[in-house]
């Protein structure tokens, strides 16, 4: 099968298969709204502490401000990240990554690929790393990061994080002009599966979401997170931290946050993330 006829699900399947063969735990998406695959506990918590781990999963990632009512061919309220964590990062991690591109039929010798400096940082998670964006013929298809800190904790061993933008890669290899023209399966298009969702969630997050309720929820989630931490329920606490983060994103897209408030709210989410990370590490060590 020529790569141009690949379906979206086949690309996902091949990439996951590649990493399964490599020895990763293949995980499921996290069942809460998150902005990026990094927020899945299988990344955020697993990179903490000394235990080696290898995991791959797809994470639907919601970015309310990127919503375009299903009309922009490249930008989505919710896109899919395929996230791989290799802990510790093996010496040949870049080569293994390039092999994975061949697995979805990209003949690298016919393309222009390079690693350009791009250091990932998430102020809300108190996390950052050093790495690159991977550009394929000028298109950013992957974020490649050596994690240095998460939840304010210095990390050792260092995890390698590979985050594929699945819609971008799929439109690239199938030479489509719009993400909605992708074939999800041979019969069904990406648009068939997702366009209505894009439309409605864009409308919700830009026009409909109840700001007062969201502010209230933010406070309630924050309180519950701290209560969970008191009770040594670190994983449930992290769930509430994620809920705060998504609520913040919705408030942001709704235009409800002034610049000053913004800094304050980010600080509050970060405070939760830092406390979760520190409890997670301490509970492990006991």
């Amino acid at each position: 099968m020529s790569t141009q006829q690949l379906t979206f699900q086949e690309i996902v399947h091949r990439l996951l298969g590649f990493w399964m063969d490599y020895g990763c735990v293949v995980q499921q998406p996290y069942d809460l709204e998150v902005g990026a695959g990094t927020m899945h506990p299988e990344t955020f918590l697993r990179v903490l502490g000394p235990q080696p781990y290898k995991v791959a999963y797809v994470q639907p990632s919601r970015r309310p401000t990127d919503g375009r009512y299903g009309e922009n061919p490249n930008r989505l309220y919710k896109h899919s990240q395929l996230q791989v964590i290799l802990k510790p990062a093996p010496d040949d991690i870049q080569d293994v990554y390039l092999e994975s591109l061949k697995a979805i039929g990209i003949p690298l010798e016919l393309h222009d690929l390079r690693f350009e400096e791009d250091n990932w940082e998430s102020p809300t998670l108190g996390a950052w790393g050093i790495g690159w964006q991977v550009l394929l013929d000028g298109l950013e298809i992957t974020q490649f990061t050596y994690f240095q800190q998460a939840g304010g904790q210095d990390l050792m061993p260092i995890s390698g994080e590979i985050t594929y933008g699945l819609e971008r890669i799929a439109t690239f290899v199938t030479a489509k002009n719009s993400v909605y023209d992708l074939r999800w399966s041979p019969e069904i298009s990406y648009g068939d599966v997702r366009q209505r969702e894009e439309r409605e969630f864009s409308k919700y997050s830009f026009e409909v979401a109840d700001k007062r309720m969201l502010f209230e929820l933010f406070g309630l989630y924050e309180k519950e997170c701290l209560r969970c931490l008191e009770a040594d329920c670190v994983l449930p606490a992290y769930d509430y931290c994620l809920r705060c983060s998504h609520t913040f994103n919705l408030l942001d897209s709704r235009g409800a946050i002034s610049v000053t408030e913004r800094v304050g709210l980010i600080g509050r989410v970060r405070n939760l993330a830092v406390r979760v990370a520190s409890s997670y590490v301490n509970n492990h060590e006991e």
Partner: protein, 694 residues
Amino acid sequence: MKNRFLFELGLEEIPADMIKPAAEQLRAAVGALLQDNALERESLEVFGAPRRLAFLIEGIADRQADREELILGPPKSVAFDAHGVAAPPALGFARKMGVPADQLKLVPTDRGEYVGVRRLLEGKRTTDILKEGLPRIIASISWPKNMYWQESRFRFVRPIRWLVALWNDEVIPVEFEGLTAGSTTRGHRFLGNSDVQLSSAQDYVARLREQFVLVDVDERAAKIKRELEQELPAGCRMVDDPDLLEQVAYLNEYPSVLLGGFNPEFLKIPQEILITVMRHHQKYFAVVGGDEALKPHFLTVLNTSGDPVGQIRLGHEKVLRARLEDAAFFWATDQKSRLEDRRPMLDSVLFQEKLGSYGAKTERVRQICGSLSKDESLERAALLSKCDLVTDMVREFPELQGVMGGLYARGEGEPESVWKAIYEHYKPVSLEDSSPGTENGALLSIADKIDTVVGCFGIGIIPSGSSDPFALRRQAQGIVKVLFDRRLDGLTLATLIDAAAANHKPTRPVEDVRRDVLDFLQARVRFVLQEQGIAVDALNAVMAVGVDSVHKTYRKAAALAEIRHEADFEALAIAFKRIKNILAKQEIGVDRVTESDLEHSSEKELFAVFAKLRPQVLEELQADDYGSALRRIATLRNPVDRFFDGVMVLTEDSRLRNNRLRLLFEISQLFLMIADISEIQESGDRGNREEAGA
């Protein structure tokens, strides 16, 4: 001396802008290692590419030269007995040195003769020196940002993956961070082999070239330039961008140039936007025709040898299309609201916590503009100047701030005196950048910047060392540069500071703020004028009497610099120092010179000459003719000299003393209208001015 040594440090992709500084550090460190060990070489070449730093030494000896060393023992007086026979101290020394006593020599020193031994020190092997020195050199390279990647907790810019060290054709097993150097390097990721054997140091550049890695940045840059020329469509030229050129030369191991195109429909978007989209996001060079108008083409530099099946071009064109569609979307939707209607939104965009929103800043800048000019269009420009901060385009491309506001204002039918002022009010963004081309643009630029500087100083945000979060130095330099470039003589620094301070409620005493800002701006004046080639002492002399207008300061200093080494003037400068010193210690009891109290012919002469010269000098100053004024002042030299020869200023008679002091005071006041010439250093007498002033 025919040996070669090659060392290569193999890394994962180094950020492009960090390679050159690292290569320079490497060159300096290797040069120092060789020098410290007295090793000569014919050449030292350093290479920096995305995945490697390397150096090649040619014509280096295989060992240090042997050296003879002289070791001193006891003095002759105790070393030998009265018969000249070696005594126990000499025997003990000889034993310690492992030589027979008869090989001891007498060596003359400052303190008399001593017993000594000459010993041959064998030179170390060059490879040993390198093997020992290289790990330290690698670790000493400093990077703007480092990372951990392995348990050793060694930090470096990116993970180190391999080492090569070849002494001619022999591997030198340099060890570093768990790696041992060999003879295996790596070729281009896709076009070359992952393992490339080098048979000798000499092979390095050519062998890697075969493997599609050009290790020499000059070779990469030359290839890029050549191909950019080749790929340009006929009658077109590239929009010059030396920074981008250097960036892409360090971004690719085997650069090659590709011409791509975009739909000419996009040319409806202003070309400032198109160029920014291409450069900012994609690192593409824009192409213009003979008429300077943008063409629907771009040039991109690939990290590969070419585009064998045309897919790369299609890929890049598609990415650019998506970017341009975004830009076109922003351009269209932004214009659905008028700039003026966006102004209330600025109230919720924070400028600085204590200085309030951009809405508040806009109002302050408008006030300043009102005090600088009666032109209503300037206030209008000020009012709209920050509205583009809440457009989608500027959110996506922050470097288009100002430019977008100008373009949107033009589209809304604002006159040129308004839209151009907005368009260029961030200029100059650096010392190299030009100042705004219009009067209103210049005034708006100054008003915006002085508000920021005075506001920040008022709440204690004052640059110190490397900490300057609001880039206040650059802002202040911008103010000074605009004042200079546009010869805004009517605008003094003090006026500007007062205009800005009127709108702020500082948390420190306002007088302190004014003084600190003035000092800060004056330091920038000094810097900007020095960049114009003005001699430091002339500048000091002029600035010592205060900076009113920047360009006037420049003209005074330039005039002073021109005549300061003429004999009359230098002598006068010395006399002026004397006058200053006398006046500094004395109270003057009168407020004018009484002619009838002039006693000696020399003071009568000085008074007469000065009385005649004074109005002429004032006239010349009025006419801005500082050269003539200074030349005229220089004619005072002889009368002043005769005055000091003829009278004693500090005489007992207070009537005479006060009269003389008053005369000197009036003369010094005239001088000080231009400069404090006691700052002038005599020719050939630099660094010796304390003495000259005594």
